[in-house]
Amino acid sequence: MTWFQEWIEFLNVNLPLIVDLTVEHVALVGLAILVAILIGVPLGIYLTTNEYLASTILQAASIMMTIPSIALFGVMIPLLSIINKGIGFVPAFIALVLYSQLPIIRNTYTAIKNVDPGVRDAAIGLGMKTVQRLFRVEIPNAMPVIMAGIRTAVVMNIGIGVIAAFIGAGGLGVMIVQGIVRTDQYLIVTGSIAVSLLAIIADVLLGSVQKWLTPKGLETNS
Protein backbone atom coordinates (compact mmCIF):
# COMPACT_ATOMS: atom_id res chain seq x y z
CA MET A 1 0.00 0.00 0.00
CA THR A 2 1.21 3.46 -0.71
CA TRP A 3 1.46 6.00 2.00
CA PHE A 4 -1.56 7.75 0.61
CA GLN A 5 -3.75 4.67 0.56
CA GLU A 6 -2.79 3.88 4.11
CA TRP A 7 -3.67 7.35 5.10
CA ILE A 8 -7.12 7.04 3.53
CA GLU A 9 -7.53 3.82 5.45
CA PHE A 10 -6.48 5.61 8.61
CA LEU A 11 -9.04 8.34 7.97
CA ASN A 12 -11.71 5.72 7.50
CA VAL A 13 -11.00 3.98 10.76
CA ASN A 14 -10.58 7.14 12.76
CA LEU A 15 -13.37 9.22 11.37
CA PRO A 16 -15.38 9.26 14.62
CA LEU A 17 -12.32 10.36 16.57
CA ILE A 18 -11.53 13.09 14.06
CA VAL A 19 -15.08 14.32 14.16
CA ASP A 20 -15.14 14.28 17.94
CA LEU A 21 -11.94 16.23 18.25
CA THR A 22 -13.02 18.70 15.58
CA VAL A 23 -16.26 19.32 17.38
CA GLU A 24 -14.35 19.85 20.60
CA HIS A 25 -11.98 22.24 18.86
CA VAL A 26 -14.77 24.22 17.25
CA ALA A 27 -16.69 24.38 20.51
CA LEU A 28 -13.69 25.69 22.41
CA VAL A 29 -12.64 28.28 19.83
CA GLY A 30 -16.21 29.22 18.94
CA LEU A 31 -17.26 29.85 22.50
CA ALA A 32 -14.08 31.77 23.23
CA ILE A 33 -14.59 33.98 20.19
CA LEU A 34 -18.21 34.59 21.03
CA VAL A 35 -17.31 35.78 24.49
CA ALA A 36 -14.37 37.73 23.11
CA ILE A 37 -16.70 39.55 20.73
CA LEU A 38 -19.17 40.29 23.49
CA ILE A 39 -16.37 41.88 25.49
CA GLY A 40 -14.19 43.33 22.75
CA VAL A 41 -16.66 45.07 20.48
CA PRO A 42 -18.51 47.07 23.14
CA LEU A 43 -15.20 47.85 24.81
CA GLY A 44 -13.74 49.02 21.51
CA ILE A 45 -16.74 51.24 20.92
CA TYR A 46 -16.56 52.65 24.43
CA LEU A 47 -12.87 53.37 24.01
CA THR A 48 -13.60 55.75 21.14
CA THR A 49 -15.14 58.03 23.73
CA ASN A 50 -12.17 57.90 26.07
CA GLU A 51 -8.78 58.52 24.47
CA TYR A 52 -6.82 58.03 27.66
CA LEU A 53 -8.36 54.70 28.47
CA ALA A 54 -7.98 53.63 24.87
CA SER A 55 -4.22 53.90 24.91
CA THR A 56 -4.03 52.07 28.24
CA ILE A 57 -6.24 49.20 27.17
CA LEU A 58 -4.68 48.84 23.75
CA GLN A 59 -1.23 48.75 25.28
CA ALA A 60 -2.32 46.14 27.79
CA ALA A 61 -3.93 44.07 25.04
CA SER A 62 -0.84 44.23 22.89
CA ILE A 63 1.36 43.11 25.77
CA MET A 64 -1.12 40.29 26.21
CA MET A 65 -0.41 39.29 22.63
CA THR A 66 3.32 39.15 23.18
CA ILE A 67 2.91 36.58 25.92
CA PRO A 68 3.81 33.29 24.28
CA SER A 69 0.80 31.03 23.99
CA ILE A 70 2.26 28.10 25.86
CA ALA A 71 3.35 30.41 28.65
CA LEU A 72 -0.10 31.90 28.94
CA PHE A 73 -1.73 28.48 28.99
CA GLY A 74 0.87 27.47 31.52
CA VAL A 75 0.34 30.42 33.81
CA MET A 76 -3.37 29.68 33.79
CA ILE A 77 -2.64 26.44 35.62
CA PRO A 78 -1.37 27.84 38.93
CA LEU A 79 -3.78 30.79 38.75
CA LEU A 80 -6.87 28.72 38.16
CA SER A 81 -5.78 25.96 40.50
CA ILE A 82 -6.80 28.37 43.19
CA ILE A 83 -10.39 27.63 42.19
CA ASN A 84 -9.59 24.03 41.24
CA LYS A 85 -9.94 24.65 37.54
CA GLY A 86 -6.27 24.43 36.65
CA ILE A 87 -6.65 22.24 33.58
CA GLY A 88 -9.16 21.48 30.91
CA PHE A 89 -11.67 23.69 29.26
CA VAL A 90 -11.69 26.70 31.57
CA PRO A 91 -8.03 27.78 31.38
CA ALA A 92 -7.92 27.14 27.63
CA PHE A 93 -11.08 29.12 27.17
CA ILE A 94 -9.81 32.06 29.22
CA ALA A 95 -6.47 32.09 27.43
CA LEU A 96 -8.18 32.13 24.05
CA VAL A 97 -10.54 34.93 25.08
CA LEU A 98 -7.57 36.98 26.24
CA TYR A 99 -5.72 36.34 23.00
CA SER A 100 -8.64 37.48 20.88
CA GLN A 101 -8.98 40.79 22.61
CA LEU A 102 -6.31 42.77 20.80
CA PRO A 103 -7.45 42.26 17.21
CA ILE A 104 -11.09 42.70 18.15
CA ILE A 105 -10.72 45.77 20.36
CA ARG A 106 -8.16 47.42 18.14
CA ASN A 107 -10.12 46.92 14.95
CA THR A 108 -13.38 48.02 16.48
CA TYR A 109 -11.74 51.06 17.97
CA THR A 110 -9.95 52.18 14.81
CA ALA A 111 -12.93 51.38 12.62
CA ILE A 112 -15.27 53.56 14.64
CA LYS A 113 -12.58 56.22 14.97
CA ASN A 114 -12.03 56.23 11.24
CA VAL A 115 -15.63 56.77 10.30
CA ASP A 116 -15.40 59.91 8.20
CA PRO A 117 -15.77 62.82 10.61
CA GLY A 118 -17.96 64.47 8.01
CA VAL A 119 -20.34 61.55 8.14
CA ARG A 120 -20.36 61.57 11.92
CA ASP A 121 -20.94 65.31 11.94
CA ALA A 122 -23.78 64.94 9.51
CA ALA A 123 -25.39 62.36 11.78
CA ILE A 124 -25.15 64.67 14.77
CA GLY A 125 -26.24 67.67 12.76
CA LEU A 126 -29.33 65.87 11.50
CA GLY A 127 -30.39 65.32 15.09
CA MET A 128 -29.56 61.67 15.66
CA LYS A 129 -29.29 60.56 19.26
CA THR A 130 -26.08 58.86 20.32
CA VAL A 131 -27.54 55.39 20.08
CA GLN A 132 -29.13 56.08 16.71
CA ARG A 133 -25.85 57.41 15.43
CA LEU A 134 -24.02 54.34 16.68
CA PHE A 135 -26.35 51.80 15.18
CA ARG A 136 -27.42 53.55 12.01
CA VAL A 137 -24.18 55.15 10.95
CA GLU A 138 -21.06 54.30 12.88
CA ILE A 139 -21.32 50.54 13.32
CA PRO A 140 -22.53 49.85 9.77
CA ASN A 141 -19.69 51.88 8.34
CA ALA A 142 -17.16 50.28 10.67
CA MET A 143 -18.42 46.76 9.97
CA PRO A 144 -15.82 45.60 7.44
CA VAL A 145 -12.92 46.49 9.69
CA ILE A 146 -14.56 45.05 12.81
CA MET A 147 -15.20 41.81 10.96
CA ALA A 148 -11.63 41.74 9.73
CA GLY A 149 -10.49 41.87 13.36
CA ILE A 150 -12.80 39.03 14.27
CA ARG A 151 -11.51 36.98 11.36
CA THR A 152 -7.93 37.49 12.43
CA ALA A 153 -8.83 36.44 15.96
CA VAL A 154 -10.67 33.31 14.81
CA VAL A 155 -7.92 32.11 12.49
CA MET A 156 -5.32 32.77 15.14
CA ASN A 157 -7.32 31.01 17.85
CA ILE A 158 -7.89 27.94 15.77
CA GLY A 159 -4.12 27.62 15.58
CA ILE A 160 -3.51 28.38 19.22
CA GLY A 161 -6.33 26.04 20.23
CA VAL A 162 -3.98 23.20 19.31
CA ILE A 163 -1.91 24.01 22.37
CA ALA A 164 -4.96 23.48 24.55
CA ALA A 165 -4.24 19.76 24.22
CA PHE A 166 -1.34 20.16 26.62
CA ILE A 167 -3.62 21.24 29.41
CA GLY A 168 -6.26 18.65 28.81
CA ALA A 169 -8.79 20.74 26.94
CA GLY A 170 -8.91 18.32 24.02
CA GLY A 171 -9.43 19.43 20.49
CA LEU A 172 -7.43 18.62 17.38
CA GLY A 173 -4.20 19.30 19.23
CA VAL A 174 -4.64 15.90 20.85
CA MET A 175 -4.07 14.23 17.50
CA ILE A 176 -0.95 16.19 16.82
CA VAL A 177 0.48 15.66 20.28
CA GLN A 178 -0.29 11.94 20.18
CA GLY A 179 1.27 11.92 16.75
CA ILE A 180 4.46 13.36 18.16
CA VAL A 181 4.52 10.98 21.10
CA ARG A 182 3.95 7.95 18.95
CA THR A 183 5.84 9.33 15.96
CA ASP A 184 2.77 8.69 13.92
CA GLN A 185 2.78 10.60 10.62
CA TYR A 186 -0.87 9.93 9.98
CA LEU A 187 -1.99 11.45 13.20
CA ILE A 188 0.16 14.54 12.71
CA VAL A 189 -0.79 15.05 9.09
CA THR A 190 -4.45 14.47 9.70
CA GLY A 191 -4.48 16.73 12.74
CA SER A 192 -2.73 19.57 11.06
CA ILE A 193 -4.72 19.33 7.88
CA ALA A 194 -7.88 19.36 9.94
CA VAL A 195 -6.70 22.47 11.78
CA SER A 196 -5.69 24.22 8.55
CA LEU A 197 -8.96 23.32 6.89
CA LEU A 198 -10.85 24.52 9.91
CA ALA A 199 -9.02 27.85 9.75
CA ILE A 200 -9.60 28.21 6.03
CA ILE A 201 -13.24 27.27 6.28
CA ALA A 202 -13.77 29.63 9.20
CA ASP A 203 -12.07 32.40 7.27
CA VAL A 204 -14.17 31.82 4.17
CA LEU A 205 -17.37 31.55 6.20
CA LEU A 206 -16.60 34.70 8.13
CA GLY A 207 -15.71 36.32 4.82
CA SER A 208 -19.23 35.74 3.61
CA VAL A 209 -20.68 36.84 6.92
CA GLN A 210 -18.58 39.96 6.57
CA LYS A 211 -19.88 40.51 3.08
CA TRP A 212 -23.40 39.99 4.27
CA LEU A 213 -22.99 42.39 7.17
CA THR A 214 -21.20 45.03 5.13
CA PRO A 215 -23.55 47.63 3.77
CA LYS A 216 -23.60 47.48 -0.02
CA GLY A 217 -22.53 51.05 -0.31
CA LEU A 218 -19.16 50.29 1.27
CA GLU A 219 -18.16 47.40 -0.88
CA THR A 220 -16.06 49.21 -3.43
CA ASN A 221 -14.40 51.39 -0.84
CA SER A 222 -13.02 48.60 1.24
Binding site: S55, T66, I67, P68, A71, I180, I188, S192
Partner: protein, 245 residues
Protein backbone atom coordinates in the same frame (compact mmCIF):
# COMPACT_ATOMS: atom_id res chain seq x y z
CA UNK B 1 -12.74 65.09 30.56
CA UNK B 2 -11.25 64.83 34.03
CA UNK B 3 -13.39 61.88 34.91
CA UNK B 4 -12.28 59.99 31.83
CA UNK B 5 -8.67 60.66 32.66
CA UNK B 6 -9.34 59.38 36.15
CA UNK B 7 -10.97 56.16 34.94
CA UNK B 8 -8.05 55.59 32.62
CA UNK B 9 -5.53 56.14 35.38
CA UNK B 10 -7.42 53.77 37.65
CA UNK B 11 -7.41 51.07 34.99
CA UNK B 12 -3.71 51.65 34.29
CA UNK B 13 -2.75 51.40 37.95
CA UNK B 14 -5.12 48.47 38.28
CA UNK B 15 -3.04 46.65 35.69
CA UNK B 16 0.18 47.56 37.40
CA UNK B 17 -1.25 46.37 40.69
CA UNK B 18 -2.29 43.06 39.16
CA UNK B 19 1.14 42.47 37.70
CA UNK B 20 2.85 43.38 40.95
CA UNK B 21 0.45 41.25 42.89
CA UNK B 22 1.15 38.36 40.56
CA UNK B 23 4.87 38.62 41.23
CA UNK B 24 4.47 39.04 44.95
CA UNK B 25 2.16 36.06 45.04
CA UNK B 26 4.54 33.91 43.01
CA UNK B 27 7.47 34.90 45.18
CA UNK B 28 5.54 34.17 48.33
CA UNK B 29 4.65 30.78 47.01
CA UNK B 30 8.28 30.31 46.05
CA UNK B 31 7.31 29.81 42.43
CA UNK B 32 10.57 31.14 41.08
CA UNK B 33 12.66 28.75 43.11
CA UNK B 34 14.10 27.04 40.03
CA UNK B 35 15.74 30.27 39.01
CA UNK B 36 17.81 30.27 42.19
CA UNK B 37 18.08 26.57 42.78
CA UNK B 38 19.19 25.76 39.25
CA UNK B 39 20.70 28.95 38.02
CA UNK B 40 23.14 27.06 35.84
CA UNK B 41 20.38 25.21 34.04
CA UNK B 42 18.49 28.44 33.69
CA UNK B 43 21.43 30.07 31.96
CA UNK B 44 21.83 27.06 29.73
CA UNK B 45 18.15 26.96 28.76
CA UNK B 46 18.03 30.69 28.16
CA UNK B 47 21.10 30.48 25.96
CA UNK B 48 19.55 27.65 23.98
CA UNK B 49 16.35 29.60 23.66
CA UNK B 50 18.11 32.69 22.38
CA UNK B 51 20.15 30.65 19.93
CA UNK B 52 17.03 29.05 18.54
CA UNK B 53 15.37 32.43 18.08
CA UNK B 54 18.40 34.23 16.73
CA UNK B 55 19.44 31.63 14.19
CA UNK B 56 15.95 30.99 12.88
CA UNK B 57 15.03 34.68 12.71
CA UNK B 58 18.17 35.69 10.88
CA UNK B 59 17.65 32.90 8.40
CA UNK B 60 14.04 33.95 7.95
CA UNK B 61 14.99 37.56 7.30
CA UNK B 62 17.71 36.52 4.91
CA UNK B 63 15.26 34.48 2.90
CA UNK B 64 12.06 36.51 3.19
CA UNK B 65 13.38 39.96 2.25
CA UNK B 66 15.00 39.08 -1.06
CA UNK B 67 12.15 36.85 -2.14
CA UNK B 68 9.60 39.54 -1.29
CA UNK B 69 11.60 42.05 -3.30
CA UNK B 70 11.76 39.57 -6.12
CA UNK B 71 8.06 38.82 -6.35
CA UNK B 72 7.18 42.51 -6.33
CA UNK B 73 9.32 43.22 -9.41
CA UNK B 74 7.20 43.91 -12.46
CA UNK B 75 8.41 40.74 -14.13
CA UNK B 76 6.94 38.62 -11.37
CA UNK B 77 3.90 40.71 -10.56
CA UNK B 78 1.58 38.14 -12.11
CA UNK B 79 2.90 35.37 -9.91
CA UNK B 80 2.73 37.39 -6.73
CA UNK B 81 -0.74 36.24 -5.70
CA UNK B 82 0.48 32.64 -5.68
CA UNK B 83 3.16 33.44 -3.14
CA UNK B 84 0.92 35.59 -1.06
CA UNK B 85 -1.75 32.91 -0.95
CA UNK B 86 0.80 30.27 -0.13
CA UNK B 87 2.02 32.49 2.67
CA UNK B 88 -1.52 32.92 3.95
CA UNK B 89 -2.14 29.20 3.76
CA UNK B 90 1.10 28.54 5.62
CA UNK B 91 -0.09 30.67 8.47
CA UNK B 92 -3.01 28.34 9.12
CA UNK B 93 -0.77 25.32 9.77
CA UNK B 94 -0.26 24.98 13.53
CA UNK B 95 3.27 25.37 14.86
CA UNK B 96 3.16 21.98 16.46
CA UNK B 97 2.45 20.36 13.14
CA UNK B 98 5.39 22.10 11.52
CA UNK B 99 7.61 20.88 14.35
CA UNK B 100 6.21 17.39 14.24
CA UNK B 101 6.48 16.99 10.50
CA UNK B 102 10.05 18.21 10.51
CA UNK B 103 11.06 15.30 12.73
CA UNK B 104 10.63 12.77 9.97
CA UNK B 105 12.68 14.92 7.60
CA UNK B 106 15.44 16.29 9.77
CA UNK B 107 15.33 14.11 12.85
CA UNK B 108 15.34 15.47 16.35
CA UNK B 109 17.17 18.33 17.98
CA UNK B 110 18.37 21.84 17.45
CA UNK B 111 18.53 21.76 13.64
CA UNK B 112 14.95 20.62 13.30
CA UNK B 113 13.71 23.14 15.79
CA UNK B 114 15.55 25.95 14.02
CA UNK B 115 14.16 24.88 10.71
CA UNK B 116 10.58 24.73 11.98
CA UNK B 117 10.92 28.14 13.62
CA UNK B 118 12.44 29.49 10.44
CA UNK B 119 9.52 28.23 8.38
CA UNK B 120 7.18 29.83 10.84
CA UNK B 121 8.92 33.23 10.81
CA UNK B 122 9.43 33.53 7.08
CA UNK B 123 5.77 34.04 6.36
CA UNK B 124 4.98 37.18 8.37
CA UNK B 125 8.18 38.85 7.20
CA UNK B 126 7.50 37.96 3.62
CA UNK B 127 3.90 39.09 3.78
CA UNK B 128 4.66 42.39 5.40
CA UNK B 129 7.50 43.15 3.04
CA UNK B 130 5.32 42.45 0.02
CA UNK B 131 2.52 44.52 1.51
CA UNK B 132 4.90 47.36 2.33
CA UNK B 133 6.42 47.40 -1.13
CA UNK B 134 3.02 47.21 -2.78
CA UNK B 135 1.56 50.00 -0.72
CA UNK B 136 4.08 52.53 -1.93
CA UNK B 137 2.36 55.27 -3.83
CA UNK B 138 2.87 54.66 -7.55
CA UNK B 139 3.48 58.34 -7.98
CA UNK B 140 6.64 58.06 -5.90
CA UNK B 141 8.00 55.42 -8.21
CA UNK B 142 6.99 57.63 -11.10
CA UNK B 143 8.77 60.60 -9.62
CA UNK B 144 11.85 58.46 -9.06
CA UNK B 145 11.80 57.15 -12.61
CA UNK B 146 11.16 60.60 -13.98
CA UNK B 147 14.27 61.75 -12.16
CA UNK B 148 16.35 59.18 -13.93
CA UNK B 149 16.91 56.71 -11.10
CA UNK B 150 18.01 53.24 -12.10
CA UNK B 151 15.93 50.29 -10.89
CA UNK B 152 18.29 49.42 -8.05
CA UNK B 153 18.42 53.08 -7.00
CA UNK B 154 14.63 53.15 -6.92
CA UNK B 155 14.63 49.99 -4.80
CA UNK B 156 17.19 51.12 -2.26
CA UNK B 157 16.49 54.84 -2.11
CA UNK B 158 12.74 54.93 -2.45
CA UNK B 159 11.00 51.59 -2.13
CA UNK B 160 12.78 49.95 0.77
CA UNK B 161 13.02 53.08 2.94
CA UNK B 162 9.35 53.79 2.44
CA UNK B 163 8.38 50.20 3.11
CA UNK B 164 10.71 50.03 6.12
CA UNK B 165 7.95 50.55 8.64
CA UNK B 166 5.90 47.68 7.33
CA UNK B 167 8.96 45.45 6.96
CA UNK B 168 10.10 46.17 10.49
CA UNK B 169 6.61 45.47 11.78
CA UNK B 170 6.74 42.09 10.07
CA UNK B 171 10.14 41.30 11.53
CA UNK B 172 9.01 42.37 14.96
CA UNK B 173 5.86 40.23 14.85
CA UNK B 174 7.85 37.29 13.57
CA UNK B 175 10.53 37.48 16.21
CA UNK B 176 8.13 38.03 19.10
CA UNK B 177 6.07 35.05 18.01
CA UNK B 178 9.27 33.15 17.49
CA UNK B 179 10.31 33.67 21.12
CA UNK B 180 7.07 32.02 22.18
CA UNK B 181 7.17 29.30 19.60
CA UNK B 182 10.71 28.35 20.54
CA UNK B 183 9.23 27.00 23.76
CA UNK B 184 7.92 24.07 21.74
CA UNK B 185 11.43 23.12 20.71
CA UNK B 186 11.52 21.09 23.91
CA UNK B 187 9.10 18.61 22.41
CA UNK B 188 11.65 17.51 19.87
CA UNK B 189 14.71 17.89 22.03
CA UNK B 190 15.68 21.36 20.88
CA UNK B 191 16.09 22.65 24.42
CA UNK B 192 15.18 26.18 25.51
CA UNK B 193 13.01 27.46 28.30
CA UNK B 194 10.15 25.33 27.03
CA UNK B 195 11.77 22.49 28.98
CA UNK B 196 10.68 24.04 32.26
CA UNK B 197 7.29 25.08 31.01
CA UNK B 198 6.47 21.57 29.92
CA UNK B 199 8.00 20.06 33.01
CA UNK B 200 5.74 22.35 34.96
CA UNK B 201 2.68 21.37 33.00
CA UNK B 202 3.46 17.65 33.16
CA UNK B 203 4.30 17.62 36.85
CA UNK B 204 1.89 20.28 37.92
CA UNK B 205 4.96 21.95 39.30
CA UNK B 206 4.18 25.65 39.47
CA UNK B 207 7.77 26.51 40.25
CA UNK B 208 9.07 24.91 37.09
CA UNK B 209 6.17 26.34 35.14
CA UNK B 210 6.60 29.93 36.20
CA UNK B 211 10.38 29.73 36.15
CA UNK B 212 10.00 28.89 32.47
CA UNK B 213 6.92 30.84 31.44
CA UNK B 214 7.72 34.15 33.08
CA UNK B 215 11.23 34.43 31.60
CA UNK B 216 9.89 33.48 28.17
CA UNK B 217 7.23 36.17 28.47
CA UNK B 218 9.78 38.72 29.60
CA UNK B 219 12.03 37.71 26.73
CA UNK B 220 9.16 38.24 24.29
CA UNK B 221 8.32 41.63 25.76
CA UNK B 222 11.98 42.58 25.80
CA UNK B 223 12.38 41.50 22.18
CA UNK B 224 9.34 43.57 21.30
CA UNK B 225 10.78 46.57 23.08
CA UNK B 226 14.24 46.26 21.55
CA UNK B 227 12.82 45.81 18.10
CA UNK B 228 10.73 48.92 18.58
CA UNK B 229 13.90 50.78 19.37
CA UNK B 230 15.52 49.32 16.30
CA UNK B 231 12.47 50.31 14.30
CA UNK B 232 12.92 53.85 15.53
CA UNK B 233 16.45 53.84 14.18
CA UNK B 234 15.79 52.06 10.91
CA UNK B 235 12.52 53.59 9.79
CA UNK B 236 13.02 57.04 8.24
CA UNK B 237 11.36 59.71 10.31
CA UNK B 238 9.13 60.98 7.53
CA UNK B 239 7.52 57.61 6.92
CA UNK B 240 6.43 56.69 10.43
CA UNK B 241 2.68 56.42 10.59
CA UNK B 242 2.39 58.79 13.52
CA UNK B 243 4.13 61.37 11.37
CA UNK B 244 1.32 61.43 8.87
CA UNK B 245 -1.54 61.21 11.32
Amino acid sequence: MERKKFVSLMVRYGFYALVIYFFVWSFQKNYFSYLFKETETFVLLTRQHLELVAVSSLLAIAVALPSAVLVTRPRFRQTEWIFTNLANLGQTIPVLAVLALMISILGLGFKTAVFALFIYSVLPIFRNTVAGLNSIDDRLIDAAKGMGMKPHQILFRVELPNAAYSIMAGIRTAIVINVGTAAFAFLIGGGGLGVWIFTGIRLFDNSALLSGAVPVTLLAILADYLLRLLEYVVVPKGTRPSANA
